[in-house]
């Protein structure tokens, strides 16, 4: 039984729509990305590998922004925590990728737990500013320890080091499937998470925090959980980026990398499972195509963003949910 058209335009009618639709959608996307690998030319395969890793970053951001309603301007800190948590042990200590990746995850987890604990004492605009400031402090820390991090210039992780169980991650095809594995795991994880009582409570907090509290939910604990999951997933993306593309640099800790996931999520559809991916693809190719036409490519990208914000304020997936697929998770 499908819900009549026009009902629940903002949020899927959970409980009425068949529960298999959501797994089908997400499995379909992953399957599609497998198939498309064998069709697309190498240039686009390379792009897509990068997009999938960045989409993991966007999905992590979306947990906090889209589902919990907390706008962070400091997620580059978590991305960089994962990146350097993996990169520095590999670069300085000669660690192998698998334990280094766990190191990246653990770093991001600890950093997000500490930042969450401190920043959640504030809300609204203050939360945005506090997260922004912490991220700036993180960026400056990377520069301060330039002796090890090589600051802006960054460092390369050599091809010889980027081997996991005999698989060469610098090979384009292996890299693609490594990116897809991480992307698939994170997508399914989020699809599952938002259907759990924990995930539903995050949405309740986004919609009406005081009401959620007086239904007996520990709002602060749920928000902290959201920051940690969001930050750790962003860190996983940072670690994967360094590992798959062999480079870590301070740019990834800069404010620009805090703004990008916000844009991707806004364009793709905040509070939807597939929105972050759609937004990342859209913006990546928008800039890619625009830069082929003119050197003022950000002007074209900016115009497209303005138009989309006017005509699809809920993002691409948000529009899809509003117009066609009210069940979209």
């Amino acid at each position: 039984m499908s819900p009549p058209a026009g009902e629940s335009p903002h949020w899927p009618a959970v409980g009425r729509t068949p529960r298999f639709r959501s797994p089908l959608l997400h499995a379909g996307i992953i399957l599609g990305l497998i198939v498309i690998h064998f069709i697309l030319p190498e240039y686009h395969n390379g792009n897509l590998a990068r997009i999938m890793v960045l989409a993991v970053y966007a999905m992590g951001y979306n947990i906090l922004f889209g589902y919990t309603g907390l706008l962070s301007l400091g997620h580059a800190l978590f991305f960089a925590a994962g990146m350097y948590g993996l990169g520095l042990p590999m670069h300085l200590l000669g660690a192998t990728p698998a334990p280094a990746f766990l190191g990246g995850l653990a770093t991001a987890l600890v950093v997000s737990a500490v930042i969450g604990f401190l920043a959640l004492r504030t809300s609204g605009v203050a939360f945005m500013i506090v997260t922004l400031m912490f991220a700036q402090a993180g960026f400056l820390t990377v520069l301060l320890f330039g002796e090890y991090t090589r600051g802006d210039e960054g460092f390369v992780i050599q091809q010889a080091a980027r081997q996991v169980a005999g698989i060469d991650l610098t090979d384009p095809s292996n890299r693609y499937f490594a990116a897809l594995t991480l992307f698939g795991v994170c997508l399914l994880l989020i699809a599952w998470l938002v259907q759990t009582p924990f995930g539903r409570c995050l949405v309740a907090i986004r919609e009406n925090e005081e009401r959620a509290r007086l239904l007996g939910y520990d709002v602060l604990a749920h928000k902290l959980g959201a920051v940690i999951i969001s930050g750790t997933m962003s860190g996983a993306a940072g670690a994967a980026y360094a590992l798959l593309f062999g480079y870590a640099g301070a740019t990834f800790a800069s404010v620009q990398y805090s703004i990008l996931p916000l844009l991707w999520v806004l364009l793709g559809g905040a509070g939807t499972t597939i929105g972050p991916f759609i937004g990342t693809v859209f913006m990546f190719y928008l800039i890619d195509l625009a830069s082929g036409v003119t050197s003022a490519y950000m002007l074209i990208a900016g115009l497209a963003l303005v138009l989309l914000t006017i005509f699809a304020p809920q993002g691409l997936a948000g529009e899809l949910r509003r117009r066609l697929m009210s069940w979209l998770p």
């Binding site: 009902e7 009618a13 409980g15 409570c201 239904l215 007996g216």
Partner: protein, 242 residues
């Protein structure tokens, strides 16, 4: 005599220099429908705010179900079996009715299995007469239906104490009738603390009435006693509706 479900001793709240609630001693036995009345500014909402934990008390203490909850956070108090329905409708306007109530039910169930939640949500919505609208967006409901949803969320929590803050405010006459019937049927299953301005609702539903005036407890008694109380008439009934 068994201990009351809820009791306060010397409960007080000052906002700056203003004492909104002063030294209120209050006992509510389990199973009773109690009304809390008083003129505007008598401190009713502040008083229940301190009971459910939205407002921290300046002095005094609150006991609920045998334990001191004065220093407990609001969500912990709710977890002990309280439900609070807001004076100003506070629902999840962009979510479906089903999800609104499900959020309440999930928190209350020890094992929130989806099928058990759905079943309980359906039962609660049916009880308040909104079963047919389960998958509408809550914000699209009429005001009266939103008030009913607010009640349904409270019922979904299966509370031991249900605090209703001016539930009939702004309702049409026919809706008030529906509401009175609902309150009466709830009487057998839970303890109710009802803040209400509409005297007819109070007199026809409450078993016992507490009157606040100027932040103090002015009187307490059965509806008949309160009606006959001269001080109450002076403070409240005489100045407004009969």
């Amino acid at each position: 005599m068994t201990a009351p479900l809820l009791s306060t001793r010397g409960l007080s709240k000052s906002f700056g220099g203003l004492e909104a609630v002063r030294d209120v001693d209050f006992d509510l036995p389990e199973g009773q429908i109690r009304a809390l009345i008083g003129p505007n500014g008598a401190g009713k909402s502040t008083f229940v705010g301190m009971i459910c934990g939205r407002i921290p008390a300046s002095r005094g203490d609150v006991r609920f179900a045998g334990r001191d909850i004065t220093d407990l956070a609001a969500h912990r108090r709710i977890g002990l079996g309280m439900a609070y329905s807001f004076q100003i409708t506070s629902i999840f306007a962009r979510l479906s009715l089903h999800e609104n109530v499900a959020l309440a039910v999930r928190r209350a169930l020890a094992q929130p299995h989806p099928a058990a939640v759905d079943q309980r949500v359906a039962a609660v919505l049916d009880r308040v007469g909104l079963a047919g609208r389960a998958y509408q967006t809550a914000g699209e409901l009429s005001y009266g239906h939103q008030r009913l949803l607010e009640i349904a969320m409270g019922l979904g929590q299966t509370p031991r104490l249900f605090i209703l803050d001016e539930p009939t405010q702004g309702l049409a006459e026919s809706e008030v009738e529906t509401f009175k019937a609902l309150i009466r049927t709830l009487g057998g299953e839970t303890t109710i603390l009802l803040i209400e301005h509409n005297m007819r609702v109070v007199m026809e539903t409450a078993e016992y009435i507490t009157v606040l005036d100027g932040g103090r407890r002015l009187a307490e008694g059965t509806p008949a006693e309160i009606r006959a109380d001269a001080s109450v008439q002076r403070a409240y009934l005489g100045s407004g509706s009969p």
